[in-house]
């Protein structure tokens, strides 16, 4: 992975099982992880403070915008239904297309609308998909973070198990995690999982997705407890010989 700064043109957004819309998406609003601030100040306190800790958190992705693109499998047909829970991963490529280890912002969001933008002379017709709130029927309501890292950017089909090194977080964490999976293409059954390791060589399964790979799909899977320092994608091919997917992990 590359480190350092980047620009907007290297962002890639994946919504549910749809991976081909980055030719039309052109903006996504503020990606935020915010906590309430129930401030207090006892008589003897020197300053107002959050001694009780932060309040409930909120994840927001703002509004995803794209150029209206109609067609059999284009995003107008795929995303035109609002009031729907969407699994969304925003991958931040670092001065290049996203790669393993790059930052990601992921959520299981409520798509609150599907609406055209204000039209003006000469403007391309564009539509907005507000993704302002975490979905009430999401897989997990226990982790408020959103900020994670790419395990597989979906840039190549996978045809064998992963025997490579993983993404180094720098230390283990103890507050669980959420795995985000977007299966973009498959030609049979396949089991998808995320493994973790304390040393980047001895691996154990952290979580296994239920999606079986026999069709394109998206899924969020929660893990609890300790997540070791290194994590990587893993597959177990059934009848499939080739699968393409995007996978990210958000630690609690």
């Amino acid at each position: 992975m590359t480190t350092g700064r980047t620009t907007k043109k290297y962002l890639r957004v994946y919504v549910d099982e749809f991976g081909g819309f980055n030719d039309d998406f052109f903006n996504i609003g503020g990606l935020a992880c915010e906590f309430g601030e129930p401030m207090g100040a006892a008589f003897a306190d020197e300053i107002k403070n959050l001694k009780g800790g932060p309040g409930q958190g909120r994840i927001s992705m703002g509004t995803l915008s794209g150029y209206l693109h109609a067609g059999g499998s284009d995003f107008h047909e795929s995303l035109k239904t609002p009031a729907t829970e969407r699994i969304v991963s925003v991958l931040f490529g670092i001065r290049g297309v996203p790669a393993q280890g790059d930052p990601a912002f992921c959520g299981q969001m409520l798509q609150g609308a599907y609406r055209s933008q204000d039209l003006s002379d000469g403007a391309i017709v564009a539509v907005d998909l507000p993704l302002n709130e975490w979905a009430g029927d999401a897989t997990s309501l226990a982790i408020c973070k959103g900020m994670g890292f790419v395990l597989d950017p979906g840039s190549a089909a996978r045809t064998a198990v992963n025997s490579s090194g993983g993404v180094n977080y720098g230390a283990q964490t103890t507050d669980g995690a959420l795995g985000f999976l977007h299966i973009l293409s498959t030609n049979g059954t396949c089991t998808f999982s995320i493994q973790d390791s304390a040393n980047d060589s001895d691996w154990a399964t952290l979580l296994t997705f239920a999606a079986g790979g026999d069709s394109v799909a998206a899924e969020v899977k929660a893990a609890t407890g300790t997540v070791d320092q290194y994590t990587r994608w893993q597959i177990s091919l059934g009848t499939a010989t080739s699968v393409t997917f995007v996978m990210s992990l958000v630690r609690g």
């Binding site: 907007k8 915010e34 906590f35 107002k48 670092i94 900020m147």
Partner: protein, 151 residues
């Protein structure tokens, strides 16, 4: 070079905050800072017979919002501390026409198990690829201006 006196510019300001392991680290992608310092409630204690309205200081507040260029360093650092319960050391150093050194102004707090800052929000703006982080005091001890680095 010894500590200098006189005026300075923003390019010599540094933002340091603990990472998730408790290591005080400078985030060099800094590109903006809110006001820094204690701001006290001005509690009106005026009585009818007073000829002039008057006030006493109440509790102060000292939230800090820092803006950064989006980078892998900033993202990794903030993802590890946002929403956390562990008080963080925070040190904003104002170098006087050169990189800060002891004797020049700084504002912050050295964390203890019960006092410091916590990070309550991270907002990523993909439009200009910037990151905004908000820090609020946790615990009863106030940060302060000084001339010695926090630890």
């Amino acid at each position: 070079m010894a500590a200098q006196t006189g005026r300075t510019t923003f390019k010599y300001a540094e933002f340091h905050v603990d990472d998730s392991a408790g290591t005080l680290t400078q985030l060099t992608d800094l590109m903006g800072l809110s006001v820094v310092g204690l701001e006290y409630d001005e509690v009106d204690v005026t009585a009818w017979a007073d000829a002039v309205k008057n006030a006493l200081p109440g509790h102060p507040d000292a939230p800090i919002v820092a803006r950064f260029r989006f980078s892998t360093t900033v993202f990794s650092h903030l993802s590890g501390i946002v929403g956390g319960l562990t008080p963080l050391s925070l040190d904003i150093q104002f170098g006087i026409r050169h990189a800060w050194e002891a004797g020049e102004p700084q504002f912050g707090i050295t964390s203890t198990t019960t006092s410091g800052y916590i990070c309550t929000a991270v907002r990523i703006n993909p439009d200009d690829m910037t990151v905004e982080a908000r820090f609020v005091v946790m615990g009863s001890t106030a940060p302060a201006f000084g001339t010695a680095a926090e630890t």
